[in-house]
Symmetry: C2
Subunit: 451 residues, 2 copies
């Protein structure tokens, strides 16, 4: 038969079994953490009507869309989880209770130019809280808590949640009479980290067309830093000059005030006036999250407050706040940085059973008993030499091998060997189950990531 | 702004939050059960090169494929999880340990004619065991155990795993000198359940062209029934006339012999000679699973033994055995039959916290403490009347509400109300955590399905 060369498309992640086990743990940790905060899981189709998916239209995104005809339907693959959420809430608003808190972890598709660490199919893990008409500021204050708990549950400690409020920025530019130039200014200020204050000043004056005092004023404002209370105190000096600014500062104060109660340590949080998160979508608090030892990765979890989730579908005002983790890329870079905890098991089974008799009933019964008590057991019955069987366990990283020969069967016992220590014990099934359960629990105790 | 009417494509399942919670439990149960048997999770892309995906080519499937161009790439969405597995194993054979046991639960796409209960995007949940060159018969004997444990873990009891062996059928038709007509015969015999023996006899004679004695012989064979040992004894009478038949009978005897050791009760298993599962793919044991009270649903879990997983990609012989559950359709019909256990919680949270003071620090700290101890807690801070807050908990099915007012804060306690009984208690946080943990554990004790 003529063969087709098997291949996986470039830009599509396909993992070997051991790293896939790590990915499963990663996703499970996200699901568990999001659930603790009362977010309900959703699952929407990967394919939507192109008209619905591209209601917003335009922009860089549209070029990246996987769009195709099937019969006379114009279809497209989702490129994020926000548009499907907007569609879902617009359709089902009458059946939902607001605030509607949902999480969704699913694959999205963007036909970007393939490059290292960039994926065309990737998991996003989103949470959003949607209000009906209104949404209390406490929801914005709670988000840093979700971010903190998510990353610490994964095993990260050295990260910082950076927060700003778009009303502060908009109010500040309004004070200076620069509202119309605020888009250009924000795009420029966004480069502070990369190119430094002096180059930003040059661009602000030469390209954006600001006066020297205006550029100075902006750079002075952006340079405000220190502890959260120092930053808030510095911002207080601007109060009273613009209503939007004052509202933003009041919101930022509320978000900062409740951090401790929400379990976020002060050193994991920083007010950062340089953060804007794009120009048109976010309207209040905005979030970024950076790894202290890997600032080059940029933000690993971002989001913010928006006023109209579903304005392309409905007149109903649906304000919300949400964050998103680009899981596939994050997984890729954490792996590249060698940050996965190598002590956590990635084997498909906890114990490999090797029957030593022709009739394998005893081994099958033992496997069944292990499984019934929650131990992942694999029966190995291939006609291979003993050494090959042990190599199989070794290659897969299965930590224990159990033997059932004539002697064990006669004694109603089972031999259990710890492949790490070489220690072998003859145990009753009850003893073996208790022994393995304890060992497995120990081995699974660590977190997925280690710094 | 002009609005686009939001809609979800026909044939695409999109659930409201409560049924989605049931779906999550369903998928989690499958993942857990498959894992107990030492299957490792895989995740392959939903998009593949059309050339690779359609290597086998032809047939009904090809018309249903979602196929499209992106740039100069000819792409297609996967229509099952078997072809991606074949591709994966062909690519990675050198890095895998054989037998390679994997499970995959993922969405597949078929642009079928839309009809009630049929989906164009649906989850399949597959397990396969792939051997390198050879694969021991014990693997085929173990599969009914996975099926049994999976469905009992979901809460089903009244189902039967029906098993046959293709070698028995092929050998039997060879005995009668009817090998060349075996395809037509099997297609006809497959209708026994639906149209009965007399109509099958007519078709066998008039359309397939068998003689009356041949048709009689086939119907007599297909009518063999009884306990497993009665069926095996009846089949024994045919032994010695065809080598393939004898091998199939020996395999079927082995599969039947180990059922008990693998924990499958005799009454959940039946040898059924009418099962063939298609014409060209399966070569040994074949499986179907039917709900005793809903035979009209057909098989809810099917599969079998095959000789060449990846023959379109590689010369390497990769025999295997696997089964697949069409999750989305099964979920749909079980729901239609009202078989979901209504006692299991579908709420997004276990407890709703209502702060009764302007400063919500105490309630935020309580929510954080609950979450740290694994209790799903939602904080509700919207400016609503008390009654509206209670209705919110009620609408979502959140079983407990916790209040934190001045009195509670002063006493260092929290009021916890059970919405089912109306009972309210003033508890310390430690008491509240223990109380809620126990209640939640009780509420989650049941299985997902109830007959």
């Amino acid at each position: 038969m003529e063969k087709i060369k098997p291949r996986t498309l470039s830009g599509f992640m396909e993992l070997l079994p051991a790293p896939q086990m790590q990915m499963e743990r990663f996703l499970k940790t996200l699901r568990q953490t999001y659930s603790l905060y009362g977010f309900t899981p959703l699952d929407t189709p990967a394919i939507e009507s192109a008209e619905v998916l591209l209601a917003k239209g335009g922009g860089e995104t549209e070029k990246q869309i996987y769009r195709f005809q099937k019969g006379d339907s114009d279809l497209a693959l989702r490129f994020d989880l926000t548009v499907p959420l907007a569609k879902y809430v617009a359709i089902h608003a009458g059946e939902l209770a607001f605030p509607f808190r949902r999480f969704q972890i699913g694959k999205v598709y963007r036909g970007e130019r393939a490059q290292r660490g960039r994926f065309r199919e990737f998991y996003q893990a989103d949470i959003d809280i949607i209000g009906d008409g209104k949404l209390d500021i406490v929801n914005e204050a709670e988000i840093p808590s979700v971010i903190y708990k998510t990353f610490t549950a994964l095993g990260l400690e050295r990260f910082q949640i950076r927060v700003n409020n778009r009303k502060i920025l908009n109010g500040f530019y309004a004070m200076l009479g620069l509202s119309e130039k605020s888009g250009d200014i924000m795009r420029t200020v966004d480069k502070l980290d990369k190119i430094g204050a002096e180059k930003v000043r040059v661009i602000l004056q030469e390209d954006v067309g600001l006066s020297a005092p205006e550029a100075d004023e902006i750079l002075r404002f952006m340079a405000i830093s220190g502890t959260n209370s120092e930053v808030l105190t510095a911002l207080d000096a601007y109060r009273g000059r613009n209503e939007v600014f004052d509202q933003g500062l009041s919101e930022l104060s509320t978000v900062t005030k409740y951090l401790g109660a929400f379990g976020v340590p002060e050193d994991h949080f920083a007010v950062d006036l340089t953060i804007a998160r794009g120009l048109d979508y976010y309207t209040g608090t905005v979030y970024e999250t950076t790894l202290l030892d890997h600032p080059e990765l940029g933000s690993i979890c971002s989001g913010g407050r928006y006023d109209n989730l579903a304005e392309y579908y409905t007149d109903r005002a649906l304000p919300g706040v949400g964050i998103s983790i680009g899981v596939t890329r994050l997984f890729y870079v954490l792996d590249e940085q060698g940050m996965f905890n190598k002590d956590l098991p990635t084997a498909p089974a906890d114990v490999l059973l090797l029957p030593m008799t022709e009739d394998i009933s005893g081994a099958a019964a033992a496997a069944t008993a292990f499984r019934d008590s929650g131990i992942r057991a694999q029966l190995y019955c291939e006609q291979k030499k003993f050494k090959a069987k042990m190599q199989y366990a070794d290659k897969l990283g299965i930590p224990f091998v159990a033997f059932l020969g004539e002697d064990e069967l006669a004694a109603g016992k089972i031999s259990v060997k710890d492949l790490a220590t070489g220690e072998q014990q003859l145990l009753t099934m009850e003893e073996a189950k208790a022994f393995l359960a304890e060992k497995i629990e120990q081995r699974n105790r660590g977190k997925l990531l280690a710094e």
